[in-house]
Amino acid sequence: MTIKLWLAVWAGRMAGWVSRLTGRGGSSLPGLVARRLEPATLTQLVRHLSWGAILLTGTNGKTTTAALARQIFEEAHRRVVTNRAGANLIEGLTAALVQAERWRVAPRAALALLETDEATMPRAAREIRPRVVTVTNFFRDQLDRYGELSTTVKYVARGIEELLPEGRLVLNADDPQVAGLRRDGVHTVFYGLELAEPTSEGDAEAGDARFCPYCGTALQYRRRYYAHIGHYACPGCGWERPQPRVRVVDWHPGAGWATVEVDAERVTVPWRLPGIYNLYNLGAGLATVVAAGLTLEAIQAGMERFKPAFGRMENLTVGVARWWLALVKNPTGFNQVLATLAESRLPSFGVVVAINDHYADGRDVSWLWDVDFERWLPRLSAQHWYVTGTRAYDMAVRLKYAGLSLAHITVETHLEAMLERLKRQERFETLYVLPTYTALLAIRRQLTRWGVTEHFREG
């Protein structure tokens, strides 16, 4: 260990303490400070991990997948370093390693499980040299940052080139763009859904990758679970969905369990998260721990105690109502949340949509027009929509053009004012609260102030 690294780590930690004491969040700040003093901080700290690092990337499901895999690793007595949700750029990854220990400099953990922004993949993988890279899916999200979807896929492909020689890939077999990342000579664990019941959710959604990544021909689907995710084959070159090793084969949302097959074995685990999209997170999480060498027994033990991550459909009591929080950040995710609300079959509820357009949210709100409100509004028994955030009026216009009467829409751009008002409301016993990323953080701060949630380390 060099003096330079020692200084960098301690300066980073102190920056983190000061930032937290003064009430600012700054979950990436320790990484930023450490990297100023020692640009190789991340590379050097990762070398101390006894097993190595896993990078998790893709548009949707990173946080839930990471939470799930972490739970299983920890139950299996593997110490894990993880980064905070959203702190997934290079500074955030560095901050996670810098703050892994309280007094020691080098982490004692066996492994680092790092959710990584797609555009950060080339750099993160170069500095970290991961043992496993897990890719969840590719949807349109924050294209204002990266330009186009194909650019995003290229970033991830460049990251994969930095896998260690014995490294493994974990890929979603049901997303053609992800499955197309497979490389000759790299051991790959595919995962996918093979449910008996048809659950196809329409073709009207914005589909992104309906073309073969190898020859460009339009893919044909035998089954589509949502958007472009399903069982496909290319009529042009004959390429088809790879046969996955990890398969979610059965799901009973009411009873709260799911059955997963790994190779020829089968395990039934508790599973209370709503929606098909979360089944993919289950598959991704299990495939990741399988790729890291864990057994089915370890998986079973770990799953008994799994809880969803903050803001990914967990619920809280506020005033007289139950609030369900679900992050929305792109058309597919929003459609999936609306599908879940339609499934809930509650006779009456309110929906709160909080749309901000700060950098972390994506500054372009055009994607709201790709959410299929036309399809979902008639199937929802929502009696009222509360719309807030910096782009509340865009959201209200979206609902108006989807056919919702203005009498059912309340607009208040000021998020805190809207939350105060909703805290006092007694009209609905259930409110679904659907914020973009920075709006979720603001809601979390407010809930903490009210004492509804425990204090979160991250601001």
Binding site: D364, L368, L406
Partner: protein, 246 residues
């Protein structure tokens, strides 16, 4: 205005050219016609399909990723033989981003090839090094009130207008066609080309109504569009306009 045949809106390449919420434009045109008792029939046309041009009253085409645009470009150039003469005769069209580029003389692909467009606009597009990304407010010379247009640009291409071309607007915020001359988009006859997503039309109801009135006129129906309650749309419009004044 009931008992008329529906307005026919031709939506070109909805599968390939549908980036950044461009379908919101079709929705805005459809809804604002419906709210006035008009019906709109949307005809989606993919590559290789036939068009009954004599029934088309309005054309919309959005932007697409480079790889998707490459799939339709040959078909679009063939389509130009029927489309361009009609645009010259007043058929209204809204062309966003990639579609706007393809209506020009030529465009440069990301790998440096210069390829011909339809040549309807006296304009050409070069590949830029940095993407122009952000909110846009422009001031238009079209006879609409208010004279502002708002949207979100996200393009790598730099478009230059020839001396005979009229821009859709001049930017008060954002980079516009090329980041140098302050122009945004182009207008010729009843064709609007622009880089603005957002979606464009829902937040610019004056443009939506202008396109609808052009479509009615093209079909030979002389009638004014009755006003609608558009307060919400104008408030959303105003949120972006106020960013230009900071």
């Amino acid at each position: 205005m009931p008992n008329q045949r529906p307005l026919k809106l031709l939506h070109l390449y909805p599968e390939e050219m549908n980036l950044y919420g461009d379908r919101g434009n079709v929705l805005a045109l459809t809804r604002r016609a419906e709210w006035r008792g008009l019906t709109v029939e949307v005809i989606s046309r993919g590559a290789g399909q036939l068009v009954d041009w004599d029934t088309v009253d309005l054309v919309f085409m959005g932007g697409g990723e480079d790889s998707h645009q490459a799939r339709i470009v040959d078909d679009f150039l063939r389509l130009g033989e029927a489309l361009v003469p009609r645009l010259e005769q007043g058929l209204p069209m809204l062309a966003i981003c990639g579609a706007f580029q393809l209506l020009g003389q030529s465009y440069e692909t990301a790998d440096g090839q210069t390829l011909p467009g339809l040549g309807f606009f006296d304009a050409w597009t070069e590949a830029g090094r940095v993407r122009a990304i952000g909110d846009v407010v422009s001031k238009t010379e079209l006879a609409v009130e208010p004279p502002t247009i708002v949207g979100f640009e996200n393009h790598g291409g730099l478009t230059y207008l020839g001396s005979s071309s009229q821009p859709l607007g001049r930017v008060l915020l954002g980079r516009g066609n090329n980041g140098k001359d302050g122009t945004e988009g182009a207008v010729k006859n009843h064709v609007i080309g622009t880089y603005l997503h957002g979606s464009l039309l829902p937040k610019n109801p004056h443009l939506t109504d202008l396109l609808l009135s052009w479509a009615l006129r093209y079909r030979g129906v002389a009638q004014e569009l009755p006003p609608l309650d558009t307060e919400l749309e104008w408030t959303a419009h105003g949120v972006i306009v106020s960013r230009a004044k900071r």
